[in-house]
Every structure is written in structure tokens, then in C-alpha cells.
Amino acid sequence: MAELHIIGQIVGASGFPQNSLFCKWGIHTGGAWRLLSGLKEGQTQVDLPQTGYMAYWSHPIDLHYTTKGLQGWPKLHLQVWHQDAFGRCQLYGYGYCHVPSSPGHHHVRCVTWRPLGSWQEQIAQTFVGGGPQLRSPNIIYSGADRYRLHTVAMGTVELELGIIMRHFDRYGVES
């Protein structure tokens, strides 16, 4: 019975048009996986960096999974949001990355994107904020036809993940 610990943090994000950001995150796994302890989704605080262009969250992630198979290795999906001066929030980017499959310390950079929307929406976004959001956010990590979307590249989210695997070698998974 293989076990997987994901311990780490969402360090922060950079490269977004604005720096006042926060992040909603979640871990998506296949059906074979079972969460033993820890929270598999959450939200960071809003960071408004005074200096520099990177928003730091240092949000902890601590999960303990067990699995009966390799299918559906955990994926981390992220939504970066921007909170403007009026306290309103708008979506700045979707992104997902696979949890590293080798044990040890990993520095993961997750690039994000945002749906573009029609030109009217873009104009509205420029002046009043807001923006298009996906109607079904699960295509962030599971969309076969996601390529049809018109998107804009946004910044990157940096994560530091420590992976501890247990008993995977018992089932012939070399790590």
C-alpha cells in the first residue's frame, strides 16, 4: 500500500499584470487515490508586494495520500486571482501542474493562462475589470479540447514541493 506525502508550499507568483494576488489551489487525483490526512484545497492570503514584482504567499501544503494504483497521479490546479484597490477580485490565471513523481525536493514552476473572451469583454476588462472565467473549471486539468480556447498567457506560480514516497518500490515503481 503505497503512500505519498506532498509537503511543501506555494511560494508565490510573478509575471502577472498586477501584483496584488492570491491563489486558490486544489489537488486533483484519480479514483485510485485516497486522502489520508491534510487539506486538499485551499486559498492563500492576498499579497500586495511593496517591492519587487513577485507576490509571496508561502502557503503550506501538507497532504498524505495512499493509492491502489498509479493512475491519476495527483495534479495541482491553481487559480490566481487579483484583488484590486476596491477589494474586488478577478481571475488572473488558471494553471495546473503534476505533482513531481520522484521523491525529494522540487522546485515547480506552474505557468498560467486566462481565457481571452470576446473583444467587448476585453474592453470591459480594461476599464472596469472582471473578465471571462471558465464555466466548468475542471477543464483546467482535464480538457481534451482545451486548445480551442483563446487564451492569454499570464504569469507563473512557483511551488516548492517535497515528495516522500513509501512502499512504491514494493510494487515495482522505481523512484
Partner: protein, 1421 residues
């Protein structure tokens, strides 16, 4: 200029030129100047359009043949032609002008002298010209002098520097730029070519760096899952708030209702002809639907196909199995019969149509006028298919088409002359007589083809007789009809929305409405109702109401179809004039039977959702999970169901079955796919490491999940072993907080108790969770520790002036250690038992008995001597040999045996304390539920004389113990008080069989004699914790500036909460260092903050408690208190974090038959209020219970304290009252805080004295009262259930006692038990002491032969285990005296709401003959 030079020039320009042949008038001779002008033009183009790298360049190439042809064209003409074209250029450039003059002479390209054999495409063919360097202008590549460009008096002006945006100039090499400048200066004198900055004018870089062109994907519409929603920026709503969808999309929905027309199938104004016409119409409709289905044609084709295969089978295939042929033939026969039936039905239908038509015709003839437009035509169709057997290869459709075209032709030919013209009397044509038709049709069935077929055609194009030529009846009817108008009212969700225009009937009772209604809606549609109103003049009546179904979301106005809704009305309208009326019987014709028709009709409408500009339906979104129609079939191909469908053998070719067959095919495919093809998910299992079951089995994972689900209780979190083998069951038990509660073998009452406990536990857990959640919401200061400047001023050390050696030695205090540094085995409880007072003594009568019998016993001389020598006094003084047993957490200590009713032990015991799970935090310690139990026993020695001994009589001593009473001290209270040094009242049973209290007066600590109290014994104990535990770390954690009340959800007024908060703060200040509790707000069972005084409201106690019974010695108040004490209290702490106890309302308390300390006190207080008594809830500290609540009542001038748990009451000055300190008082009006700095009991409870009592609300403050109802419904306990419980309890206890005595036999004395149960029933009624004594004496008299000792236990019923525990605590089973008989009797007195008062009488009976009780003499003492 030669071509070579041209090339050179171009190469010098540095532009790569691709040469190509272009079509040019071949006869042109180019002069040099012309050539040059053209070149310049081209160069200019080149320069300006930098982006175009490849520029076409003409090269003159000889085309010999053509030129030869054009010999006639003279040189002059050619030149003119050329010059004409370049006229302007020549004029502009003066230099070229001079050149052109020369060109006339010498530079004409000689095109004619070209060898004809040359291939024009070979480079060698290019004409070369001699180069005259003087004539060529080669621009220099040095920068041009600015003076030449800009006039002397001007300075170059740079627009960029002035702040204008000029864009970026295209990148051109410097050299080329210079060259260009030079050339322009030379040739054009720089006019208009240069800008103000001295550079060639250039437009900004025309090349776009970014690709603006968006790729359009080949798919037009995006899939719905990719759809994005534009969300306006909004503040994030909290997770709990509910956003209704209706709000978000309000006003976006639109329903379009198109009312087409109304057809009345019956109307009161129908005349007879109309009725008949309607019938005809209906018949015709049936006919049409049959035709549409085409069942006959289908069967016929099928039959043909079957026949064909039959012939094929019989002729060609010899080896065909007989069964196949047989099946086929059977099939043919079946089809044949079916076809025959179908034909019959067809024919009869047509016949009926014709008959109906005939009736109409006869009626029309009879009436002499026509009022309907119905017209029937019978078309004869000649089926021209003669060679049926051979030619039937064409498809069905094809055949049909032929048939119909034939029919049309025949219609034209056949019927033009024979059209039925009813209104004219000259009608000659008679349609086929029924009999005739029958023949023809039967023939056609038999002979199939080559038949004349009749097709009825119904049209509505008949001519109605004009009103003027009608009889008066009909005239009136038509006039009436013209007055009738019909309108439709539209109701949406029961609200009238719109009304259609009133429209009139036409002659066939049709109403054309043709109106469109657009309804923009906000509320989700529930129903749409159309109300059909008929208006006659100004009086309108509702004919019918039609509820139309709300269309599906996909039903859009673009694709909606016409819906037909039928309606009818049962209103009765008399027949008048020519009309037949409605709902009244009438006869069509005299000989006909009566018929009764009701008004009915059809409404044709279109109801659909509108579509917005973007093509989205303006409809509420569909519910997320709408099961697809085909889904169950496709997704779950149930094999058996499939087989069943197959066995149906429905015809796959039948048009009505197409859908089914399609589904079937799909399902079969899916099934086959699953078995016969490669699918990855079948292999997926092979990749699995383990199975789900194994994961389930893993104890480690189970434990981990349990821990994470119980993450709230931090105290339980501890490491989990790495391996399964290290995990014990006990670890699971830690997390399984709620064991299986509802054991099925329990009786209903116990179940009820368990449910109550479960309910309270749930409420508590919820409230605790809430508190934790609230606590999690950290403040800013919790997260961010702001850097505080260090205090640099050091405190002045005053100690240096102190005397080094104090004169008076100070006591060394015991070290107080914080709880966190404790571990297992560190904490001990020291219990010192000093002495006891006024213990009961063995009864005199009983002793006398012994004396009386002692003489006749063969006692040994020594004992006899002892007995006789002992004086009467000595016997009286030493009638009890008490010892003490101290028990805590399974450790038990016994003291030595002392003599007499006032023994002095002076013994100290050290009890090990072990916290659950090794957690020694204050929170965990305060949750410890263990009690320190001090039991007082009387040691009884029993001597048995063995007379069989040879050396005289030997004696053997057996010991037994008799429980006298106990003191129970919760560990919690010890923790709160840190030490107990007190004279405690021993809880003794109401009566002790065989014992009595001596009426001796006692001396108290101060040496004052206090009068003896009946049946009360005391014990002096000193209990302390070793080492002492400091609780300060928890006190410090309280945050001063945080308002904890605001965090909990509350319904209270903000101002009130502010007031209480201020009050609490003031109280805290007033209390100083003494920790005093003040209760203003409490948490109720819903986890909300409620002001404490809201819990108080007069409540009537149950009638049977209040009602006085003659033999009851208790007052009403005592009885009420006793009733309340019969409500069991929770065995677990009910505190919610550090916010104090959760308060249950009195109703809950009674309903659940369960309560905690506080709620019982509140209940008692409420009962007292109802009895017109001044009552307060007193929050204080009791010696025994620690922090607790009592009820204070005022009677005249003195105050009485009531303990709601045991129903006892004390005078406020009573020194034996366990309540020692008072913190505050609460009742329905106010909260008073005790302002005295000491915690001593106040002498008076005069709450009006503001110096000692600080009220929460100022005087006259009227806060709204509690919302608790004043009435309470008590439901009587079910006697049979109580009796059942009583029996069960008795059985259970008996078996328990037998178990505890396991190796020894246990004998029961049923006779005694019966008597005891009688006593108990009296005990419940609290008889006066003397009557009780009488009762007991009676028992003792009856059991004269025995020494009877015993006692009743009185307790509230919670569950069986507590009862068993109580019995075990008395150690009645541990007697070793042989021949002891036991008597156990239970009695349960039911109070309402299943509040039970349980009595258990335990007694031991020892027969006197067996021996004597050893009575210690005074000398021994």
C-alpha cells in the same frame, strides 16, 4: 544605354533584381532618355516600397518574328508613341530633356538587326549597348551637405525632440540612404523630397511586428464545456451566503406564445349539419392517420418479399432445412391474415366516411340550405401494376410515387366532370353504393392488383348558402354566431398577463387569433394557463382553461412546432333555433338515438423560448442532471433485458419500431464491444498495486483517516505507528468517540436516555466546533508580531534593601508546577483521612438478641467471659468497627479498622493519577471524569464455633463488611480547589437496616457543640494534589481586548452584548486576583450566545409532584427538588471551550430527561418561580463539586440553598453546607455579581444592596423577557415500560452479584425481597421518620431468625451500568460469612417524561444459629 549598363546601375544600387521577361509592345524602340526616365521611376518605386524586395524589372528581349511583322511602323511613330507616355516625366526632369535630344541621334536601340535564329530566352540574346561613362550619373554614397537640402536660414527641425510622435523610420543602410539623398538632390534639387529635419521623408515602419490576424478555427461553435462566462469584478462572497440563481439572470428569460387558432369540435351553436360534418371530419382524420402509417402497404410488401424468398427456397436450395421453410410459410400465413384485417379496416373506414357524407348530403337536401363548407370527393385510383410477381423490384417509395401520380392523373380526368355540387339540385353523380363498394373492395383484397381503388378527399371548399336565402331559424343562428367572439386570456404563474384580441367565428367554428405574445419573465415558470373566453355582446363566459406545458429549454422559437391542446366545457346550454346546444341531449334525426355533446375544441399554439442575439435561449438553465432518454438503455446493457427485447421479435422494418431497433443495435454493439474488443480499462486493474479491500483493511490508514476527521480535538492527536502491526485496538477506541449507541437489546427507556446523551453530545460537539472555527479566525496580532522596542530602563531592585535574613522564618511553599511539564506518574493525590463523626451504630435490639442467644450457644470460655464481663455500656460504645476505603482510578486503599462511631484513623494514602492518553494539559485534566470515592464500611467479624473439634470448641472468624456511606469527590473539583480540607457529610442511605444513629452531640472544630442531626455522619479529610498544579498558564491566555461574545453567532441585541461585556470587565476588575465567575451570556444548544437571564421563566412542576399526599413528610419545595434531582446528569463535561457550560433550556431538560448541573439548577429555579418563591441561580464553589451552581431561595428572612443534583437543602448559615463561596446570582430579571473581595459565603443575600451586589442591568431596565413558553406538557411515563425496566434491572443486578461472588454460592431470600420492595414503595413517598422506623421494625421482626443488615440506594436512572456501578460500590457481595443470604429488590417510581426514581434495596441475612458476631470489647480498644 545598353542593357549591360542598366544592370550595372542596378547592381550599384545594391538592390537585387530578379529579371524576368515581361510583355511589352515589341515594336517599341527605346531611346536612351526614355529608358532612363523609366528607370528612375522604377527606382523611386523601389526606394519607397522597401518591403518589396523583388521587383520586376523589364529586360528588352528581341522577338524577331513579331518585330519583322511590324516593319511598317516607322521610327518616328514609335518615338512619338513612347514620348507620349513619358511626357510628364520628361518635363519634370530637365536633365533628361537634354539627353532626349541626343538620344534621337545615337542611342536608339537597334532592335531590327537581331539575328533571327537566336533564342530570345538565352542570356546572350540580351542587347548590349556601348557605355559612355560621361552620360551615366552615379550618385555618391557620401553624406549630402545639409546646406544643399535645407535653406541656409533654416535650422533642421526634429519633431521627435519637440515631443511629437513620428513613428519609427524603416531601417535602411546608411550608404544607401546617402546615395538616395545624393540622387534626389542632383535630379530633383531636393524639392519636396526632404523633410524639415533634412532627411528623406519616410512613412513610419510599415512592417508590423505582431501578427494581428487571429486564427479562425474550422469549427464554428465551441463546445459547451469550453464556454467562458464574463464575470464582473465582485467582492468575494463568504462561503456561507446563498446566491440565488434567479437574481443573477433576472429579466433575461422570455417566453414566446403564439396563439394560432381555435377549432371548436362542438359548440352550442352547431346545427345538425355541423355535428354531422364534424363526425365526417373526424372519420377523415382517422383515415388520414391510417394512410400516413401505411400499414396496408407495408404488409403487402412484406408478404411479397416473403413469397419471393419462399419460392427461392423451394426452387433453388434443395438442402434448405424443412424447419426454415415451415417458419417462412407460417410467417406468410400470419402476414396474410394481418394484411387482410388491415384491408378490412381500411374499407370499413372508407365506407363509414361515405356513409357520413351521404347523411350530410341528405340533410342538406332536406334542409334546403348548406351551412358547412365540408366537401367530400372520392377519387378513383387505378393501380396500374399488373405484372405483380415479376416487376416488384422497385422500392416501396417508388411504387407509392407511381401510385399517387396515377391517382392525380385520374383525378383530373375522371372527376372534373363529376364533382359534387351540392348546392345545385342538378347533381347527377352518385358515389358508389356501399354494397357495390364492398364487392369491389373484397375483390381487391383477393386479387390484389388491377383494381379500382377509392380515395376519399375531404376539402373545406364547399359553398355555404348565403344567409339571405336561409330559413329564419338558420338566419337567427348565424346572426347569433356573428355576435359570439372568442378571446384568450393568458395567465403566467397564476397571474393574468395578457388577453388576445376578441375574434369572431367563421362558418366552420374556427377562430383565427394569430397573435404573438412575448413574455419577459423573472420568476421561474410554474404554470401557464390559457383561458378561453367567449363574449356575447358584453357578457363574457369562460369556456375552458387550458394548462399548457412549459416548453423544454431546447424548444426555441426557431424550431418550435405547432402544439394542439384540446379543451372542453361541461356547461349546459339549451338548444335554440337551429343550434343543438351543449351538454343537452338532442336527436340528429327523428329516428336516431339521442346524443349529448359538450362544448369542445382545440387550440393551436406555439410556446417556445425566445433566442437572444447570440443565439442562446433566454430560458432558465436546465437542472444539472437530467437523465437522458436513451441513457439507461445504452449505458447499462442488461443482458437479460436485451434478450427479452430480442425475444419480442418486433419487426425491425416496421417504421414505428425504427427507434427501438436503433437503440437495440446500439446496446448490442456496446455489449459486444465490451467483450470482443480491446479496451484499456480492462487492463487498468492490472496496473493496480492493491485492491480497495486491502486499503480498507489497513489499520494504519484507518487510523490516519480517523485522526484527520477528528482533527478538532487536538489533545487526541498523537503519532501513529508506522506499521500495521504496532496498532492496537485501543488506539481506535481513542478516536471512536461515539460507540455504537443504539444497542437493540436495551429497553426503550434506556434507549431514550442514550439518545438524549447522544443529542447533547452532538450539540456540544457542534458548539465546540463552532468555537474552534471562531478561534481559528486569528486577529492581526495573532499572526503578526510587531516589533516592540525593548524597555531599556531596568527595574530598580528594591530587594537589596531587604534584610538578608528575615527574623521570622517563612514557610517554604510547595512548588507549583505548570501542567505541561507533567508526565505519567508525576501527579499524585494525597488523601489523608483523619476521623469520622457520628457514624451509625449497630442496632441495640440486634445486640440484645446476640446476648440472648449467646448464653445458649456453646461459646468458648474466653469469649463467653468477654461477653459477660463486658458491661452494657461498653457494648453500647463499641457497636461499630468502621474502616475507610479510598478508591480512585482502579486503585483502592483500605484503612485500619477502628472502633466506635467516632473513629480516628489518621491515615494518609497516595493515589497515583494517570491522565487519559498521557495528556497533562490543563484542558485535558479538567476533562477527567474520575471521582475520588471514600467509602465507609463497618467491618463485621463473624465467629463460627466448630464443635466437632476434639479439643473442645474451636472458632473460625469470618469477616463481612457493611456499607455505611460514601463521599464522592470529583477530581475536577480537586483540580479547581487544589486542596480539600473539610469536614464532609457522608452520603448515607436514607435508612440502614440494623444500624442506628446515636443522638450524641458533636463538637465542631471551634469547640462549639452543635446539635446532632439525624442520620448524618461526617468525615474529616485532607485531599491535595502532589505536586500542586498551577493553572495560571491558562488564565494568561485570555485576551483582554478581544470581545469573545461577538464571535459567536447571536440573536441578541448588540447594545445588550456591549453592556454585558462592559459589566464582565468591571466585575473582573472588582474581583481582582480572585478568580470569580460571572455568567451573563451563555451558549445554548444551538451554539448561539444567549443572555443568561432568558433561561428563567416560571414553569409549573408536574401535578403529581406538587399534590400533597397524606403520608409524605416533605414540603412541596423539597418534593420539587427531589423530582429535579431524579433527572440524571451528564457523565461528561458540558463545557464549550472556555466559554463555560452549555445551557439547556428547561424544556429540553425535561424532554430529554437529561441535563447538566446548570440546567438542573435553572429548572429547579423555574419551578420555584412558579411556586411564587424568590429564587436565584447561585454560581459558586462547593467543597465537593468544585465550581457549581445551586439554587438560592428566600423564605421570610432566611435564605435556603438547594442542591439540584441531590435535592438537599441547607440554610445559608449552615456550616455543613458544601457550598463555600458565591460568585454571582442570576435570575430572570438580572445578574448580580458578588463584590466582596473574599469568597466567603455572605451572611445576607440582599441583592438590592449595591455595595455588595453589582447588578448587570440598572434599575428599571426592561430587557425583553425570555421566549420560553410558560406551559409545559408532561407526558405520563408508560407503566409497562417502567415495569419491564424494573424486572430487567433486578435480573441484571442479581446476575451481577452472583458473578462477583463467583466461586461462592449466592443464595437469595425472596421473602425478604418482597418485604423490602414494600418498604421501598413507602420510602419513595418520604414517610415521617417514625413511620419509617415502624416499617423497618416490621421487617426485622419478620426476619427474626436472621441478622439483617441492608440499605437502600436511591438514584436517578441513566443507564444500567451506572446502577450496577452503584451496587458494586457498596461491596455487599464481598462478605465471606457463610450461609449469608442476600436480598435484592428494585423499585422504580415513574415521574412524568420517564424521569425515574430508582430504589435498590440490598440486604444480607445471616442466620443466628451459625455463630455470633464478634463484638469488640472496650478493653481491646
Amino acid at each position: 544605354m545598353t542593357e549591360e549598363n542598366k544592370e550595372k546601375l542596378q547592381l550599384q544600387d545594391g538592390v537585387h533584381i530578379q529579371e524576368r521577361v515581361i510583355q511589352h509592345p515589341p515594336h517599341i524602340r527605346l531611346s536612351r532618355s526614355q529608358e532612363r526616365g523609366r528607370l528612375m521611376l522604377q527606382e523611386y518605386k523601389l526606394k519607397t516600397l522597401q518591403s518589396k524586395i523583388n521587383v520586376a524589372r523589364e529586360v528588352r528581349i528581341k522577338e524577331p518574328q513579331k518585330i519583322a511583322d511590324k516593319q511598317s511602323c516607322s521610327e518616328e511613330e514609335a518615338y512619338r508613341f513612347f514620348c507620349h507616355e513619358f511626357d510628364e516625366l520628361e518635363r519634370n526632369g530637365p536633365t533628361t530633356g537634354t539627353l532626349s535630344q541626343q538620344s534621337r541621334i545615337d542611342t536608339v536601340i537597334d532592335i531590327e538587326n537581331v539575328d533571327e535564329g537566336h533564342n530570345p530566352l538565352v542570356p546572350g540574346d540580351i542587347e548590349t549597348l556601348d557605355v559612355n561613362p560621361d552620360l551615366l550619373f552615379v550618385p555618391s554614397d557620401l553624406p549630402v551637405n545639409q546646406m544643399r537640402i535645407i535653406p541656409r536660414y533654416l535650422k533642421p527641425r526634429f519633431l521627435e525632440d519637440e515631443g511629437f510622435y513620428v513613428g519609427e523610420r524603416p531601417q535602411v543602410p546608411r550608404k544607401m540612404m546617402n546615395k538616395m539623398d545624393n540622387r534626389l538632390i542632383e535630379e530633383e534639387k531636393g524639392q519636396s523630397w526632404f523633410g524639415e529635419n533634412g532627411c528623406v521623408i519616410a512613412i513610419p515602419d510599415p512592417i508590423q511586428k505582431y501578427w494581428h490576424c487571429k486564427v479562425d478555427f474550422p469549427f464554428s461553435s465551441q463546445s459547451p464545456c469550453l464556454a467562458t462566462v464574463h464575470i464582473r469584478p465582485d467582492k468575494l462572497r463568504s462561503a456561507g451566503s446563498v446566491v440565488s440563481n434567479a437574481e443573477a439572470s433576472a429579466g433575461l428569460w422570455q417566453l414566446d406564445l403564439n396563439l394560432a387558432r381555435l377549432n371548436f369540435t362542438h359548440h352550442p351553436l352547431f346545427c345538425t349539419e355541423h355535428v354531422l360534418a364534424q363526425r365526417l371530419y373526424e372519420l377523415y382524420e382517422r383515415y388520414e392517420t391510417r394512410e400516413m402509417k401505411g400499414a396496408t402497404t407495408f404488409l403487402r410488401e412484406k408478404l411479397r418479399g416473403l413469397r419471393k424468398s419462399e419460392t427461392a427456397l423451394t426452387t433453388t436450395d434443395e438442402t434448405a432445412p424443412g424447419s426454415k421453410l415451415r417458419d417462412l410459410r407460417q410467417e406468410i400465413r400470419k402476414t396474410h391474415v394481418a394484411l387482410k384485417n388491415e384491408r378490412q379496416a381500411d374499407i370499413s373506414l372508407v365506407r363509414n366516411i361515405v356513409a357520413a357524407w351521404k347523411r350530410i348530403k341528405t340533410l342538406r337536401a332536406k334542409n334546403g340550405y348548406v351551412s358547412t363548407t365540408v366537401k367530400l370527393q372520392l377519387h378513383k385510383v387505378k393501380a396500374r401494376i399488373t405484372d405483380s410477381a415479376t416487376n416488384r423490384t422497385g422500392t416501396d417509395e417508388h411504387m407509392k410515387a407511381r401510385l399517387y401520380t396515377d391517382g392525380d392523373v385520374t383525378i383530373k380526368q375522371h372527376y372534373l366532370c363529376r364533382e359534387l355540387k351540392e348546392h345545385k339540385e342538378e347533381e347527377i353523380y352518385i358515389p358508389p353504393v356501399p354494397g357495390q363498394e364492398e364487392e369491389t373492395f373484397t375483390d381487391s383484397v383477393n386479387q390484389k392488383a388491377d383494381q379500382l381503388d377509392v380515395v376519399p378527399v375531404l376539402t373545406m371548399c364547399g359553398v355555404v348558402t348565403p344567409t339571405s336565402s336561409c330559413p329564419p331559424d338558420e338566419k337567427v343562428r348565424r346572426y347569433e354566431l356573428a355576435n359570439h367572439k372568442v378571446s384568450v386570456n393568458i395567465f403566467y404563474n397564476g397571474k393574468h398577463v395578457s388577453t388576445s384580441e376578441p375574434s369572431t367565428f367563421d362558418s366552420d367554428f374556427r377562430v383565427q387569433i394569430q397573435q404573438m405574445f412575448n413574455m419577459q419573465i423573472i420568476h421561474s415558470p410554474e404554470n401557464i394557463m390559457l383561458e378561453i373566453c367567449e363574449t356575447v355582446k358584453h357578457k363574457s363566459t369562460v369556456v375552458a382553461k387550458i394548462y399548457v406545458p412549459i416548453p423544454d429549454r431546447n424548444m426555441l422559437s426557431s424550431n418550435a412546432t405547432m402544439e394542439r391542446s384540446e379543451f372542453s366545457s361541461d356547461r349546459t346550454i339549451k338548444a335554440y333555433y337551429a343550434g343543438v346546444g351543449s351538454n343537452v341531449p338532442f336527436k340528429l334525426e327523428k329516428e336516431d338515438t339521442e346524443v349529448c355533446l359538450i362544448t369542445s375544441g382545440r387550440l393551436l399554439y406555439v410556446l417556445s423560448w425566445a433566442v437572444d442575439e447570440s443565439g442562446f435561449p433566454m430560458a432558465p438553465t436546465a437542472p444539472p442532471h437530467r437523465p437522458s432518454f436513451t441513457r439507461p438503455m445504452v449505458s447499462g446493457p442488461n443482458a437479460s433485458r436485451l434478450e427479452w427485447i430480442r425475444d419480442l421479435q418486433c419487426d425491425p422494418n416496421h417504421p414505428s419500431n425504427t427507434e427501438l431497433t436503433e437503440l437495440l443495435r446500439e446496446a448490442c454493439e456496446q455489449r459486444d464491444r465490451a467483450t470482443g474488443h480491446f479496451r484499456l480499462h480492462a487492463l487498468e486493474e492490472e496496473f493496480d498495486f492493491t485492491t480497495e479491500e486491502q486499503l480498507e483493511k489497513s489499520r494504519r490508514f484507518g487510523l490516519l483517516q480517523l485522526r484527520s476527521s477528528h482533527a478538532v480535538d487536538v489533545s487526541l492527536s498523537k503519532p501513529i505507528p508506522l506499521h500495521d502491526r504496532d496498532i492496537t485496538e485501543a488506539m481506535f477506541a481513542d478516536y471512536d468517540a461515539s460507540p455504537s449507541l443504539f444497542l437493540m437489546d436495551e429497553d426503550p427507556i434506556t434507549m431514550q436516555r442514550a439518545r438524549s446523551i447522544h443529542y447533547i453530545q452532538k450539540a456540544l460537539n457542534l458548539a465546540r466546533m463552532k468555537l474552534l472555527n471562531i478561534k481559528r479566525k486569528y486577529k492581526f496580532s495573532d499572526i503578526v508580531t510587531e516589533y516592540q522596542e525593548a524597555d531599556t530602563v531596568t527595574e530598580f531592585d528594591w530587594d537589596m534593601f531587604r534584610l538578608k535574613r528575615p527574623l521570622r522564618p517563612q514557610r517554604v511553599k510547595t512548588k507549583i508546577i505548570p501542567t505541561c511539564s507533567l508526565s505519567d506518574g508525576d501527579l499524585r493525590i494525597r488523601v489523608a483521612i483523619n476521623n469520622a463523626q457520628a457514624l451509625p451504630v449497630r442496632q441495640e435490639a440486634f445486640l440484645k438478641e446476640i446476648h440472648a442467644r449467646g448464653s445458649c450457644c456453646a461459646l468458648t470460655s474466653s469469649s463467653r467471659h468477654n461477653m459477660t464481663s463486658s458491661s452494657e455500656k461498653a457494648v453500647l460504645q463499641a457497636q461499630v468497627q468502621p474502616f475507610v476505603e479510598v478508591r480512585f482510578q482502579e486503585t483502592t486503599y483500605e484503612s485500619s479498622i477502628e472502633q466506635g462511631p467516632n473513629p480516628c484513623w489518621r491515615e494518609e494514602f497516595t493515589l497515583e493519577f494517570k491522565s487519559l492518553g498521557g495528556d497533562y494539559s490543563h484542558a485535558a485534566l479538567s476533562k477527567v471524569q474520575d471521582n475520588i470515592v471514600i467509602n465507609v464500611f463497618d467491618e463485621m467479624s463473624f465467629q463460627v464455633i466448630e464443635s466437632s473439634s476434639l479439643r473442645g470448641c474451636g472458632t473460625q472468624v469470618f469477616s463481612g463488611r457493611q456499607w455505611l456511606g460514601s463521599v464522592t469527590l470529583p477530581f475536577r473539583s480537586l483540580l479547581q480547589q487544589s486542596k480539600v480540607y473539610e469536614k464532609l457529610t457522608i452520603c448515607t442511605p436514607p435508612t440502614l437496616l440494623g444500624y442506628t444513629w446515636t443522638g450524641e452531640d458533636m463538637v465542631n472544630d471551634q469547640g462549639i457543640e452543635i446539635p446532632a442531626r439525624r442520620n448524618t455522619s461526617f468525615i474529616n479529610v485532607f485531599i491535595t494534589l502532589d505536586p500542586a498544579i498551577s493553572l495560571s498558564d491558562d488564565q494568561m491566555a485570555k485576551d483582554g481586548d478581544q470581545k469573545p461574545l461577538w464571535l459567536f453567532s447571536t440573536d441578541e441585541d448588540e447594545d445588550l452584548l456591549d453592556l454585558t461585556y462592559e459589566y464582565e470587565k468591571q466585575c473582573k476588575v472588582a474581583a481582582g486576583r480572585v478568580k470569580k465567575r460571572v455568567i451573563t451570556t451563555v451558549i445554548n444548544s444551538e451554539g448561539k450566545f444567549v443572555l443568561a437571564h432568558r433561561f428563567f421563566k416560571p414553569l409549573p412542576p408536574p401535578q403529581e409532584v406538587v399534590l400533597d399526599t397524606p403520608d409524605n413528610s416533605m414540603s412541596v419545595l423539597e418534593r420539587v427538588a427531589a423530582f429535579v434531582s431524579m433527572i440524571p446528569t451528564l457523565s461528561f463535561p458540558s463545557d464549550v471551550g472556555d466559554s463555560g457550560d452549555m445551557w439547556l433550556t428547561s424544556e429540553q431538560c425535561l424532554e430529554l430527561a437529561m441535563g447538566n448541573d446548570v440546567s438542573l439548577a435553572v429548572l429547579l429555579c423555574n419551578f420555584f418561580h412558579d411556586l411564587k418563591l424568590n429564587g436565584w441561580l447561585l454560581v459558586g464553589t462547593s467543597v465537593i463539586e468544585g465550581e457549581t451552581t445551586y439554587v438560592l431561595t428566600q423564605e421570610n428572612t432566611w435564605f435556603v440553598l438547594w442542591n439540584p443534583r441531590d435535592g438537599k437543602h441547607y440554610q445559608s448559615y449552615d456550616s455543613f453546607c458544601p457550598l463555600k463561596t458565591v460568585d454571582c446570582l442570576v435570575n430572570g430579571e438580572n445578574v448580580w455579581f458578588h463584590l466582596q473581595p473574599t469568597r466567603k459565603m455572605p451572611i445576607t443575600f440582599d441583592v438590592s444592596n449595591n455595595a455588595t451586589w453589582k447588578p448587570l442591568f440598572p434599575k428599571g431596565f426592561n430587557s425583553d423577557k425570555s421566549s420560553m413558553p410558560t406551559e409545559i406538557k408532561y407526558h405520563p411515563s408508560q407503566i409497562d415500560l417502567v415495569n419491564l425496566l424494573q424486572r430487567r434491572m433486578e435480573m441484571k443486578l442479581k446476575s451481577c452479584v452472583m458473578d462477583w461472588r463467583s466461586p461462592h454460592p449466592t443464595r437469595w431470600s425472596p421473602r425478604c425481597a418482597v418485604m423490602l420492595s414494600e418498604v421501598m414503595q413507602k420510602l419513595e413517598r418520604n414517610p415521617a421518620p417514625d413511620t419509617l422506623e415502624l416499617e423497618i421494625d416490621r421487617v426485622l421482626d419478620t426476619m427474626k431468625d436472621y441478622k439483617v443488615t441492608g440499605f437502600p440506594i436511591h438514584m436517578a436512572y441513566q443507564d444500567m451500568s451506572t446502577v450496577i456501578e452503584a451496587v458494586y460500590n457498596t461491596r455487599i457481595h464481598s462478605t465471606e460469612i457463610p450461609g449469608t443470604e442476600f436480598a435484592l429488590s428494585t423499585y422504580i417510581h415513574p415521574y412524568p417524561n420517564h424521569i425515574l426514581s430508582v430504589w435498590i434495596f440490598l440486604a444480607t441475612l445471616v442466620k443466628h444459629q451459625h455463630g455470633v458476631f464478634y463484638v469488640p470489647s472496650v478493653h481491646e480498644h
